[in-house]
Subunit: 431 residues, 2 copies
Amino acid sequence: MAKPYKEMNREELLSLKKELEGKFEEAKGKGLKLDMSRGKQSTAQLDMTMSIMNVFDSDSVLKTEDGIDCRNYGLMDGIPEVKKLLGDMMGVPAQNVIVYGNSSLSVMYDAVSHSVTHGVMGSTPWCKLDKVKFLCPVPGYDRHFKITEYFGIEMINIPMTADGPDMDLVEKYVSEDEAVKGIWCVPKYSNPQGISYSDETVRRFANLKPAAKDFRIYWDNAYAVHHLYDDKQDEILEILSECEKAGNPDMVFEFCSTSKVSFAGGGIAGMAASKANLDYIKEGMTVRTIGYDKVNQLRHVRYFKDINGIRAHMKKHAEIIRPKFEAVLQVLDKEIGGLGIGEWNKPVGGYFISFEAMEGCAKAIVAKCKEAGVVMTGAGATFPYGKDPKDSNIRIAPTFPTPEEMAEATDLFVLCVKLVSVNKLLDKNVG
Amino acid sequence: MAKPYKEMNREELLSLKKELEGKFEEAKGKGLKLDMSRGKQSTAQLDMTMSIMNVFDSDSVLKTEDGIDCRNYGLMDGIPEVKKLLGDMMGVPAQNVIVYGNSSLSVMYDAVSHSVTHGVMGSTPWCKLDKVKFLCPVPGYDRHFKITEYFGIEMINIPMTADGPDMDLVEKYVSEDEAVKGIWCVPKYSNPQGISYSDETVRRFANLKPAAKDFRIYWDNAYAVHHLYDDKQDEILEILSECEKAGNPDMVFEFCSTSKVSFAGGGIAGMAASKANLDYIKEGMTVRTIGYDKVNQLRHVRYFKDINGIRAHMKKHAEIIRPKFEAVLQVLDKEIGGLGIGEWNKPVGGYFISFEAMEGCAKAIVAKCKEAGVVMTGAGATFPYGKDPKDSNIRIAPTFPTPEEMAEATDLFVLCVKLVSVNKLLDKNVG
């Protein structure tokens, strides 16, 4: 049975340090070149989707069910059958969906950018306001935080709990401060913790009483269909209908994409919102574009057919991804369990495992990994401004490497966690 | 030989009016439903490109020449071989090109929107300025004007000449007024007149001495390869290198797309600019997207191979389009030539014919056409704020209808021109 590091005396720690340093030098000698930094599909996943390339040939009729030619201008807000498909992914009616281009990140950026220049449904453009704030559940998705940072929006950390963001804090900020215009949420299999919001959390979101009438929940349902198991699946309450029930029909912008269903960058993205929101958004959209890539929209719906097609496809993804998650979790359990130097979650979906190191250790661990050729997401990236106040959170992205690479990378990771933790404890002892 | 309407006396005009009204009622009875309103490809053109759908199948290797997997994240600014392809379309080196998504209009919108929120290469964001102005050569492209109108940018009309915009005026405004931040240009086969800027015009552009350091020429090279003839082709000077020669390397943003080469909305778009501009743009781009649709980028380069492939392809487009342009021009010549009630250009490329009616007649002509089932671009659309000061310009878009429809539509159009002109002259006579 492993002895918790904190119970070790100085001598034991020094001896352990020596042993770990030896192992680290050995690992470094291997010349690893591995990447656990980003939530990317692996080649095996991408290959698995290649038959989407057979959907069309030169004899295909590229028309929607309504007879609209997808090769020409028109249907700015997307073809009806893809609205249905993305709507089913999010659990909302097709009429509440706009289909965009290849990236939900761009849709979110545009939503914020447009609010800065033109406000939200008639509100004052944010660029005319002295102060705009967003709530940021942490740890969270670095690219969300980059968007708000880029527009000079002040970000406020909201701690995550096992049920989602700390709703007492969210309610307080949203109801008391008119400068609070939004909150970034990944409600299902959250990035990076893999937490799915509880029903109570979703209902409390829907029942918010915002001080700002242009407050919106930015509901990034990025992992709506990204389960790892058949028999263990999280489901969350559908936020649009909950908001409507609560008398807040316009309070949410929901986003989704097929970047981790079909191809990353070669997929399609969508947004769901109330009719009033969509009408306002479409006004701006007519200035921005004549329409998105309907050929690719049609390709997706011909390939997946419907939500059942997507579900079946996601099972195949899960078969490729699941062993990698389990491998990481097994190594963490075996090597770090009981040592008191780290905690982690065991997600049943999504793309990440979130590791909580001892306070003040995350940066050093990531640096140590890099020294031996394993790239992790930069420590701090999961927090606004890249600043993790405790310097403890590390995001592990197990999907991209092969299972063999994953095993090697995780072995190195736990070694670095141990080594940095020992050094930390020794430093403390000195102090 | 036709007698000019202005030389007719009241009696002759009244008799002509009666005859034309009879013909109009007859035409109305046909129940036409034709659209000459937008620059859209015809079905024959779209069909001609369908073999692009055979480029990939499930066994294809979707990698760039450098071995980058186009199915995954990465290469934010486009794959190298497509930079080369779009660069060759614009006549600029690949290193000066960023490849975007499916729409150059979006790229232009984003360029303006980003300047509003973040300025241009470090300048004050336009939303912090009291006044921002754009120069708008008229008649011009309605969707350009909509973008600047949407951001509250004041638009100043600049008359077009046979050589391009009135450069005396352009130089005056640009050098004297720091609020002038841009000018919308379609330098080759301009929309709607089909005018290509003379070498002197391009050189005067390149040698502008802007009062505002964030002044940019918005050079929408939409019809760079869209010739109608093999033996009559306009070429314009390459603006980036001219600007560099003139000591203004950063003064231009150039745009292009394959919307009228491959599929409208299913194509790819690009931007060309100096390295300093591109570096600045890419900083913002990393916040907005992880990358555009590289699968479609690769599809295009595999299909067209290189600029010669595009040129050969555009010849096939020309074979489909040319007869329609010629049919319109022949009818105009035959029916309106010498009557003194309209002028028009004879473009050798692009997508439009611009018709200049008698002053105060354009709206009435378009309304009359609509009454009989022929939709034209709204009168005034070719001017900022939709206001044609002389109410005389009408844009004819001959590409979308079939040749038979085109003939019918043009017959009706000239009939309406005659009828409205007669009425105008009779009104004047009364007054």
